[in-house]
């Protein structure tokens, strides 16, 4: 459905994406994760056809991005949802639906995205979350084979997030379509994604299942200072600078208990949940 081959994108001297390759089969929901500046938005804008790649290829449904035939088969929700302020929600939906041969029913989407009571409201009067829900509904309106969403649930409340997850999951399985979405929220990636693609500094850092990521996030990051060689004691420890050691483990008590048993003195102990970046980094190390 989506195939990205050796994709690179540079802005003057800055490399935004570097030799990115991966593919997404039909029926799969894939989350694109990564810290700010990782290249997520650049990748989405390339998929939308707004930007041109410096090198490499993107094919969607076996057609190169930008091919006119693709437009009727790909639905987008961009990072910011903006609409003609004086048009009503129903008018915007009707107008967008006119572009497609077999659009979904407006009522079905209005129900799924809690827009029913807003259909007669002018879009200028919508809240940020309501605008976002309309943007999401429009992405599915044309009955697309590929749905690309940039941070889909920004400003959307919890209840409506779950309604969206349910609708998207049902739609993708019913239509055998592909969903590709970028997000900063791990819970969203886990809830909606079958697979996670993690970008870091424009490169593919890791591909993982939500289960792997979940177990990583359950782990704890432990850091302490010790004059003994802890790497020799347990392979979980990694030596850092200035006699510091760190480890990343789902059960750090086990490691600390061992230190006590061996009567090894240590100081400056820190135990903390990992950041997404740490989890990403750990995934890469594991991959290597």
């Amino acid at each position: 459905m989506i195939k990205i081959t050796n994709l690179s994108k540079s802005f003057h001297n800055r490399v935004a994406l570097k030799s990115l390759s991966f593919s997404l089969p039909s029926g799969e929901k894939v989350a694109l994760l990564g810290p700010n500046g990782a290249g997520k938005s650049t990748l989405i804008s390339l998929l939308c056809g707004f930007r041109r790649a410096s090198s490499g290829n993107i094919h969607i449904l076996d057609l190169p991005v930008g091919h006119p035939e693709l437009k009727s088969q790909v639905g987008f929700c961009l990072q910011e949802s903006e609409f003609p302020s004086y048009s009503r929600v129903s008018e915007v939906m009707n107008w967008v639906a006119k572009h497609y041969p077999e659009p979904l029913k407006k009522e079905e989407l209005a129900e799924a995205f809690s827009l029913k009571h807003l259909l007669d409201r002018q879009t200028g009067g919508l809240s940020g979350g309501e605008r976002r829900r309309l943007g999401l509904a429009l992405a599915f309106l044309g009955r697309p084979q590929v749905v690309i969403l940039d941070e889909p649930t920004t400003a959307v409340d919890l209840e409506n997030r779950h309604r969206f997850y349910d609708f998207a999951t049902d739609y993708i399985s019913r239509e055998k379509a592909t969903l590709f979405f970028s997000t900063h929220q791990m819970d969203e990636a886990e809830r909606l994604g079958d697979r996670l693609i993690i970008l870091h500094q424009g490169q593919l850092l890791a591909e993982s299942t939500p289960q792997d990521m979940r177990s990583l996030l359950r782990s704890r990051s432990v850091r302490l200072r010790c004059s003994r060689d802890l790497e020799a004691l347990d392979a979980s420890w990694t030596r850092e600078r200035d006699s510091f050691y760190s480890c990343y483990d789902p059960a750090p008590e086990r490691l600390l208990k061992k230190l006590f048993e061996e009567q090894i003195e240590f100081s400056q102990l820190e135990v903390s949940p990992p950041s997404i970046e740490e989890a990403f980094m750990h995934l890469t190390e594991k991959g290597q």
Binding site: F11, F50, R51, F76, L78, S87
Partner: protein, 246 residues
């Protein structure tokens, strides 16, 4: 064709719901006509001439305010970006804008004509009116690239003040607000270089007696300006693609 009709309706409704924008756009040329032309329109030929001038003034208003400012606003709009992802040809939104702008231009000019009929001795035969409206439509189409080029070269924030800064002096120098022969000598000479003057010649000729020669030279110059601004539009478009999207 169905999509074009629906898009036209969609954009028109959006505009009509903004009376604060639509009414001044429509009424501005009529107000100027009422203030500056009606008191000077004593005899029928002069009244007809001045009414034609202010119709041309209305068309240039549409060029700057609909095409120009509209394009500058579109460039900054996320909605426009979303519309680019829809299955319609890339020129489609432009065509819809051109149709809306032409309609607004014709409505705006019609208000001037109605005022002329009501308050001045201006008269037109059916054929003259037909020719006048034909020339007004030609103006919208020929000068659309001028507005779009303007919209591509200025930012959303500077578009409105700049449009006012160009529109009024250009109309004045072109002889649309006061007959060209009444302009100071230097401006009269400068007038020959403006698109407004040459378009004015076409509008004045559309209601002039059949015995009078048609200003073919002005028609060619108007087409020349159209091509020139089309080039500016394409360069502006390319520049934006390189600066913003490359």
């Amino acid at each position: 064709m169905k999509l074009l009709a629906h898009s036209f309706y969609f954009q028109l409704i959006e505009l009509l719901r903004q009376p604060g924008y639509t009414i001044p756009t429509l009424a501005f040329p009529s107000l100027f006509y009422f203030l500056f032309a009606v008191p000077e329109s004593q005899d029928p030929s002069q009244a007809t001439f001045m009414t034609g001038s202010f119709c041309a003034f209305a068309i240039f208003g549409v060029v700057f305010f609909q095409f120009g400012i509209g394009t500058a606003q579109d460039r900054a709009s996320k909605w426009t970006l979303y519309v680019r992802t829809l299955p319609a040809p890339p020129w489609f939104p432009l065509l819809t804008r051109a149709l809306i702008a032409t309609l607004i231009g014709l409505l705006s000019a019609s208000l001037v004509i109605l005022l002329g009929l009501w308050l001045t001795p201006a008269t037109w035969s059916a054929m003259e009116l037909f020719q006048l409206y034909g020339t007004l439509i030609l103006g919208c189409l020929c000068f659309a690239p001028m507005g779009i080029a303007f919209g591509y070269w200025v930012s959303e924030k500077t578009a409105l003040p700049l449009a006012n800064l160009i529109y009024l002096p250009l109309s004045y120098i072109g002889g649309l607000l006061t007959p060209p022969q009444m302009l100071p000598e230097a401006l009269h000479r400068a007038s020959q270089w403006t698109p407004t003057r040459h378009y004015g010649e076409l509008v004045w000729a559309s209601t002039a007696p059949a015995s009078q020669n048609y200003p073919w030279e002005s028609l060619i110059i108007v087409f020349g300006f159209s091509i020139l601004f089309l080039i500016f539009t394409l360069v502006g478009y390319r520049r934006e693609q390189v600066l913003v999207w490359n």
